[in-house]
Every structure is written in C-alpha cells, then in structure tokens.
C-alpha cells in the first residue's frame, strides 16, 4: 500500500504548501492588521462580539442589582438610564448582529465550497469599523457620556432640548457607523452566496444556512437604511437645527418611531433567522438524517422575511393608530406565527424521522425549543391589541423579548459554536463542564424571565429606577435578580468551557459529527485557503454521497487545484445552476481596509467633539483611500481565458461584463435606493400626518431648474452607455465621458439652482426636507464625478479593453441611479409648488 499512497500524499502536501504561501497573512500582530482572509477576519469578529456580549451582560447585572430590592440606592436614576440604554444598545448592535456576521464570514465559504468571501477587503474594513465604532461607544459610557433615552431613542426625549449632552450623538454616530459595517457584510454575503460556490451547487443544493443568510443579508440591505435615515435626520436636527421631529415647525416625533420600527421589527428576524439557519444545519446531523421539507423551510424563511416588513406598527399600538390600521397590523403580526410554526415543526419532524444523539449542541437546541416556543406564544399574545395596551412598556415585554432573543438566538448560537469548534480549533469539545454550564444556564434563564413576565402582569413598568415595598413586587424581583446572577455564572461557565476546549481538548478527527456538507471536507482546523481544489458536487450532502471526497479534494481533484498562478483564486458559478462561469482573482493581504476604517471612523466620531474640520478632512481621506483601493485591482493587459482545471477554460473576473464589483454595486445601490425611498416616505408622512402643515410657502420650480435637471438626467443615462459601447468596440470613449460629465454637472446645478432661493432649512420641516433632497442629489453627483474621473484615468492608463469593460459598466450603474433618484428628488421638491 505504502508505495501507492506515497505519491498521492505528497501531491496533497505539495498543494497545501503552495496554497498556504499564497493565502497566509504575515505572522505576528502585523498579520492581524493586513489580513483579509475569512478565517482570520471571522475569528477577530467573533472574539470582539463575544467581548461586547460580556460587557452587555455586566450591564444587565447592574440592572438586576438595582431592581433586586425596593427603593434601591445603588444607582441614581440618571445613571440607571444610561445603564439600561447601553445594555440594550450593546446587546442589539454590538453583540447580536456582529456575532452572526462573524459566524457567517467564518463558515459560509466552507459550506459553499469556495475559498473566501467575495470581497475580502470589504470584510476586513467592516470588522475594523465595528471595532472602532463599538469601542468609542463603550469609552463614552465609561466617561459617563452614554446615551440615556432608552435603546430606541425616541425624540423629543432624544432631541437637543431634552438631551443636551453628547450622549445621544454618541448613540447616533456610533451606531450608524456600525450599521455601515453591517451593510458591508451584507453586500459581501449576498454576492458570495449567489456567485461563489462549488461547481454543480445549484440553488436547490445550497446548504440551508446559506439560504438563511441570503435572506438575512437582503433584509439588512432593506431594513437598515430607514434606521440610518432616521439617525441622519435626528443628528442633523441636533447639530444644525433642521426640524424633522419638532412639532412646532412641521416635524413629527412619530416619524422617528416609524423609521425606527421599520428597521426594528425586521431586525428581530434578522437576528433570529441566522440562528434558525444554524438549527437547520446542526439538528439533522444530530438526528443522523436529512432535514425534513427543505423547500418548506426555505419558503418559510423567505415569507418570514417578507412578512416582517409589514408589522413594524405593532410596536406602536399605543401611539393612537386608527382602528383599521390596528386590525391590519394585528392580523399581520399573528400571521408570522405560521412560517415560524413551519420551521419549528420541520425541526421536530426531522427529529421524528431520525435517531437523535444528545451531544452538547443538541442539548442547547433543546434549550432553544423549551424557551423559544414560550417566547413565540407570548409574542402571539402581544399581537392581540387589547392585551398589548395593558402590558406594553411593562416588564412583560422585557421578558418576552429576552425569551425570543436569548432563547431564539443565544442558545442556538452556543450550539453552533460548540458544533463548529473542531473546524475553528481542530479540537473536539469534551469536558463535562459544558453540560454543567447548560444545566445552570437554562433553568436560571427561566427563573429570571418567568419572574419578569409576572412582574409585568402586576404592572411593573420597564425602565423605572426603583419601586416601593408596598407594591408587592419584592419577592418577584429578588427571584429575578437571583436567577440573573445564576444565568451570568452559567454563561461565564459556557465561555470558560469553550476556552478550555479550544486549548486543551483532544485533537478532532476529520468530520467528527459525520456531517454531509462541504465545510467538513477540509482538514481540521480549517486551513486559510479552505479547499485544495474546488469540488464538483451532485447533491445537498456531498460527503454522504462520497465519503472519500475530502481526500480527493486534498489531492487536487476539482477546479483550480493549488495556486499555479501564485495568486488567490476561486470559482464563480452561474447563480441558478452552479455551472462554473469565471475564475475570481481575490486580493491578497492589505493594510488599506484598516486605514480606510480609521478615517471612516474619524469622520463619524470627530463631530462628537465639535471637530467638524477633522471630520471633513477625514471624509476627503475616505474618498482618496477608496479611489486608491479601487485603483489597486484590475489589469493593464488582457490575460485571456485561463485554465480552471478539469479541462475548463474560463475568463477571469477582470475580463467579464459583470465582475464581482458590479454585483456589489448593485446591492449597495439597493440599500441606497431604500434609503432614498425612506426619505420620500418621511416627506409624505410629514406632509399628510404632521401638524403645522402646509409650510408658509412652497418653492416654485421655474424653468431653468427643470430644464437643467431633465437634460442632465438624460445625458447621465446616455453618456455611460456610450462609453461602455466605445470601450467594447475599441473606439475612443471621449464623447461618452464628456456627456456623462456634462450630465452630472447639469443635475448638480439644478439642485443648486433650487436651493438658490430655496426655503430656510431651519424654519420648517419642508425646507429641511428640500435641503436634504438636494443633498442627496449633490452627494451622488460628487460620487459619480469621482467615479467618472477614475474611469477616465483608468482608460488613459490602459486598464480597459473590450474584455475589461466592467468598470465602465459599474459607472453606468451608479450614473443611472444618480439620474433616476436625482430626478425623483427634484420632482418631489418642486411638485407642491408647481401645483399650488
């Protein structure tokens, strides 16, 4: 046997050595600053998110100390407000969202059978922005400058008049920068799932977690923009005095609630669905079977996502919504129980048809069932309007949301970390401590939050700093506090156990759980490059169908074996069928993401200290670095189609009309479009609902503005198309470029013309909205202009050719968006004046 195995082994080793030199980051701390690999980025992300979980947990303990006894003197009301605001903010924005992003960056490439995420540098950028933004918020808290208006920051309480300090600004700027990082991660996830997969992995053969993350990432792109807009409006109102939420000048505090919950409710499912995806991944393996009703589960995830955008008003049942509205949103809110039930019964049905084994991940999933079902049922109760009117803003709500978020998110995520520990560390979880931690955590959780349901039903309002002894809530609160401390000990034991296992547990063999999906086809711990070759698969569980697949992959049987061209390559496939389509050339290590994150964070955080000039300079830095970033990719010569292995000759991603950057732009513009749509929604809302409308005067469009806008818009649509055509035919692209330039300048001039005798933005919400609409046009004109200059320079330096026309097509996408939304924005501003 040995003489035959020898050469094969050495082939695998040869490939490994080649790949490791191409894919590794430099050793030491410098490596962490320049690495773009998903294994490193994901681990960094996971570690930081866990640290924030610990911080959020400590804050929760302070809350429970305060509430343990009546008339507590532990904290003053002012401090207590900061603590509960920060607990919610840290857990929702600094822990929950980043934690699942971390897991998906770590795991998705392996599950999909590819070597890295689609935009490695964007991923690294997102992590650093998150680390800087999150740390700034924590530092502000330690300095006693934390926000104190509750984690949903309702104006007018969060407006300058009632929150004069910088606490609210810390929240708005810090959290918005983190949302920017979430959007970066979402763009990356969508493009990765749609295009970066193993050969033959059609949509119907995708692992269930990939489906869930696709849905979640699309939700992030559509749910975060309303929230970002809300924050922009509030920050602009606070900084410049533009009245979006001030009633006297045509604003309305309810606008914030709509924008916030338009984000906030999908957010709940954005957090729950990744956990559900993990359960769908782990549970069938633990039950030694396949998931029951794959199609049903995918359909349930999609319908849950769609429905979640139609229920935001159920957070606002007590704000005076008309009866018909209440009926609609109440029905829609109960309806989400249907796809949730489909998922829950799919999982129980899977156990039913399998032979479940009680490994530790399975135990945590059972903890999930026992907890989440209760949270779901209290959720249905809350959808019933008269019940909600009573328990709204009491501890019943607090208890409900913890059942859903801890039961529905934290427990499954602990299961996931245990399950994937061998992949991350190469060691198999072993210790008894893990089981003890489980049996401390779950009962303690139920003690804490069952007690809080009860306190809520007795009328204990959320966010009160103290209560009186005669209210009869002492025993309940004391039990909740005891439970909360036991719960904290339980979570500490879980973290300790995971740490011990990561360092001391015995080495794991390959595929320790006997799973069928591709992420287990790699040696443990998973090497930076993932796969020695991109496999060809024929079903949903390739390892079940061919147990020798891992060895064949290691020997280079598949596409793009090794790294013959000494660069990071992976396969891009056709979205629907999974047929090989392109060879992606990924960037290597780079300090750019780290630097860009520094200037980006600076531009967000400098205004906190009144350093507006620093912020402006940082913005110039952002633009400069972004241009340099884009400049470093691309080729000066046509490489032509390359050998992808298995006899396939494929074009590289530099030489296709739809490079990954085009897909990324498309998704970014989706988010941008939703943001713009939210602005129009806000405008219409204020106009129809807010008191003190109409404004003292509208603006009159005249002739010059509309002509400039119309002509500019047309030129902006036509110019880039002509440029693309010229490049594709090797003709000089001068006319197209010039036309684009004239178009964008004309559109910007139209916006400027409108502001020339436009209304004062501080005197009425209409004026403020007009300025914001013009700001949208001008910002996008600047972006288009920068991209145009970039493209002209690239053409001049020889970076384009009939094969390499992707960058011109990216410009076309942005120009189209600028033209369409620009015309809409100006029309919306002019329309009332034209018809008045």
């Amino acid at each position: 046997m040995t003489p035959r195995l020898g050469p094969r082994r050495s082939r695998a080793l040869q490939l490994h050595r080649k790949l490791i030199t191409v894919w590794s980051a430099p050793p030491g701390w410098r490596g962490w600053l320049v690495t773009t690999n998903n294994n490193d980025i994901g681990l960094l992300f996971l570690g930081v998110a866990t640290a924030f979980f610990v911080i959020g947990g400590l804050l929760a303990m302070l809350i429970r100390i305060q509430l343990a006894t009546p008339r507590s003197a532990f904290m003053a009301a002012e401090t207590y407000s900061q603590i509960f605001t920060m607990h919610g903010t840290v857990m929702m924005f600094l822990f929950a969202i980043p934690f699942f992003e971390a897991l998906s960056i770590l795991l998705l490439p392996g599950m999909l059978g590819t070597r890295d995420m689609a935009f490695p540098r964007l991923g690294a950028f997102g992590v650093w922005v998150y680390i800087f933004g999150g740390s700034a918020v924590i530092v502000a808290m330690i300095m006693g400058l934390a926000p104190d208006g509750g984690w949903f920051m309702y104006p007018p309480l969060s407006s300058t008049a009632f929150s004069p300090g910088i606490g609210a600004d810390v929240w708005l700027l810090g959290i918005t920068s983190i949302e920017v990082s979430a959007i970066a991660a979402a763009v990356e996830v969508v493009v990765t799932v749609l295009r970066y997969r193993a050969a033959g992995m059609s949509l119907a053969r995708m692992p269930i977690f990939a489906w869930y993350m696709l849905v979640v990432a699309l939700m992030i792109l559509t749910a975060f923009p309303p929230m970002i807009l809300g924050s922009v409006l509030l920050e602009v109102e606070r900084a410049l005095g533009w009245p979006f939420y001030r009633v006297e000048e045509g604003g309305d505090p309810l606008l914030w609630q709509h924008l916030f919950w338009l984000f906030g409710h999908p957010e709940v499912y954005i957090i729950f669905l990744p956990a559900a995806g993990m359960i769908g991944t782990i549970l069938p393996v633990m039950a030694r079977t396949q998931i029951l009703g794959y199609g049903w589960v995918v359909a349930a995830a999609i319908s849950l996502a769609v429905l979640s955008f139609g229920l935001w008003v159920h957070h606002m049942f007590a704000t005076g919504i008309p009866q018909l509205g209440l009926a609609f949103f109440s029905a829609a809110s109960t309806l989400v129980a249907v796809p949730t039930a489909v998922m829950v019964f799919a999982w129980i049905g899977t156990l039913w048809q399998g032979r479940p084994v009680m490994h530790l991940p399975m135990l945590w999933i059972l903890g999930f069932f026992a907890t989440f079902v209760i949270g779901g049922l209290t959720g249905v109760m809350l959808a019933i309007v008269p019940f909600d009117w009573q328990v709204h803003d009491t501890h019943f709500i607090v208890a409900h949301l913890h059942y859903v978020l801890i039961g529905g998110y934290v427990f499954p995520m602990i299961a996931a970390v245990y399950y994937f520990l061998p992949l991350l560390t190469g060691r198999h979880p072993q210790f008894r401590l893990g089981r003890i931690a489980f049996w401390v955590t779950v009962p303690a959780f139920h003690l804490t939050f069952l007690a809080m349901h009860w306190a809520g039903l007795l009328g204990q309002r959320r966010r009160i700093a103290t209560y009186e002894a005669e209210q009869g809530w002492e025993a309940i609160n004391f039990s909740a506090s005891i439970g909360a401390f036991a719960l904290a000990i339980g979570f500490a034991l879980v973290i300790l156990d995971l740490g011990l296992n990561a360092v001391l547990a015995p080495r794991s063999r390959r595929n320790p759980w006997a799973a069928g999906t591709l992420e287990w086809a790699v040696p443990l711990p998973s090497p930076v490059y993932g796969f020695g070759a991109i496999p060809v698969i024929e079903g949903r569980a390739p390892l079940d169908m061919d147990p020798a697949l891992p060895h064949r992959i290691a020997r280079g049987e598949g596409y793009l074996a090794g790294a013959d061209r000494h660069r990071r390559e992976t396969l891009i496939v056709d979205t629907a069928t999974g047929a090989p389509a392109q060879v992606a050339v990924l960037p290597g290590n780079s300090i750019l993401p780290f630097l860009l994150a520094i200037v980006t964070s600076l531009s967000f955080l400098a205004p906190l200290f009144g350093a507006h000039l620093v912020s402006a300079l940082a913005l110039v830095g952002v633009a400069g670095l972004a241009v340099f970033w884009a400049w470093t990719s691309g080729r000066k010569v046509d490489e032509g189609p390359v050998d992808a292995g298995l006899g396939q000759i494929l074009p590289t991603s530099h030489e296709v009309p739809d490079p990954p950057g085009w897909w990324g732009s498309l998704l970014l513009l989706l988010a941008d479009g939703v943001h713009f749509g939210s602005l129009l929604f806000g405008y219409a809302f204020l106009w129809t609902i807010a008191p003190n409308w109409p404004p003292p005067s509208w603006i009159t469009p005249g002739l010059v503005g509309p002509i400039l806008a119309g002509g500019g818009g047309l030129a902006l649509m036509f110019g880039p198309r002509r440029t693309v055509r010229a490049i594709s035919r090797s003709q000089p692209p001068r006319t197209g470029l010039a036309l684009t330039g004239v178009g964008v300048l004309a559109l910007a001039a139209a916006a400027g013309w409108m502001l020339r005798n436009g209304p004062d933005p501080t005197s009425h919400a209409f004026g403020a909205t007009v300025w914001l609409l013009a700001g949208h046009v001008l910002l996008h004109a600047v972006i288009t202009l920068i991209m145009l200059g970039f493209l002209a320079l690239r053409i001049w330096r020889g970076y384009t050719s009939p094969r390499r026309n992707g960058e011109a097509r990216i410009l076309q996408l942005w120009a189209d968006f600028t033209a369409v939304t620009g015309l809409l924005a100006l029309t919306a501003a002019w329309a009332p004046g034209a018809f008045a």
Binding site: L292, P356, V373, P386, D393
Partner: protein
C-alpha cells in the same frame, strides 16, 4: 390566553419528547407542514385575532349619550386635567371622573412623549406633542384608581404617577361645581 398558550406549549414539548426517542418513524409533509405548520396555527390565530378585534372595538371611544369628556396634558413629570363640563376647572395629578359612565380622555403632551395608563380602567395610550389621542375609560365602581405614565421620559420617570377618582353621580355634580366632594 394563558391556558391555551400553556396547552400549546405542552403539546409541542410532548411532540418533541416523543421525537427524541431513538426510533426512526416516517414523517410526512402532509402532517408536519400542512397540518401542524399551516392549518393548526391559522385556525388558532384567526379566532384569536377576531376576538382581539371585537374586544378592541368594544373598548373604542365611540359616541355614547352619557359621555363625559376630559383633557389630560402631560409634561415632565406632571399631569394636568381639564373638564369639558366645567370650563376653567383644572386639577393636577388627580383626575376626577364619574363612575358608571363612559369617559373619553383627550391626551396630549407639551414636551416629550408620555403614556397614560390606569390599568384597572383602560389600556395605555400615548400622549404625543402635536397630537391628540382619545382614550375611553370606564369605572364601574366609585373609588380611587392608581395611574402611571408608561413611556420612559427621562430623570423623573419613576415618580411620574397620578390617580383617578371615580365619583358616584351626586359627588360628580358637587365636584363639577368646584367643591370638594
């Protein structure tokens, strides 16, 4: 709702417990998805939502012959009440109403958002600057009822409470005439 929720919870847990016994069985889509996933929740939800809507309608501030109107104005951290039947009459922190008659409270705020909540007389409704929200109260018995503001409003939120005093018909008239009953 507590009992039916409890029953559903126990049902799901029993199903889970049976599923955990290591005897593989056949699981059909018809039973698990159409039956448990779709029909089961839809039937319960439809009836529950309908019940909620009917109840909500009954609590709504609809016209009534013997209706009493009052105004409540919230501010950080106080409540001011005015009475349609006695112009000029103002009370602070104590709302007077007649027992046995429907009372509509018009709620508004002069600063931040507050919420008006008297658990034993009605659900809660927000007092929002620039808006007037109408809440129906009904007290069957004369007596004092505790009320609280139920939307976080800053430093003094914990102590932002008030009471409602429901009067017997004769006492109500005395009150309206400006005398303490």
């Amino acid at each position: 709702m507590l009992w039916s929720s409890g029953t559903i919870f126990v049902f799901v847990m029993v199903l889970l417990a049976v599923a955990l016994r290591r005897v593989p069985r056949i699981a059909t889509e018809r039973f698990w998805f159409w039956g448990l996933g779709v029909v089961f929740p839809l039937a319960i939800l439809a009836s529950l939502t309908l019940y909620g809507l009917i109840l909500g309608q009954r609590l709504a501030p609809v016209p009534a012959p013997d209706l009493v109107r009052v105004e409540a104005e919230a501010r950080q951290w106080a409540w001011t009440f005015r009475y349609a039947d006695a112009p000029g009459l103002v009370t602070h922190g104590l709302l007077h109403i007649p027992a046995g008659r429907p009372v509509d409270v018009d709620l508004t705020s002069v600063d931040v958002i507050h919420s008006f909540w008297v658990p034993r007389l009605a659900g809660k409704l927000d007092a929002i600057p620039g808006h007037v929200n109408r809440l129906r109260l009904s007290a069957d018995q004369p007596g004092d009822y505790a009320g609280a503001s139920a939307e976080f409003s800053g430093r003094g939120y914990t102590g932002h409470v008030f009471s409602v005093r429901a009067h017997a018909p004769a006492d109500w008239q005395t009150f309206l005439q400006g005398m303490n009953p």
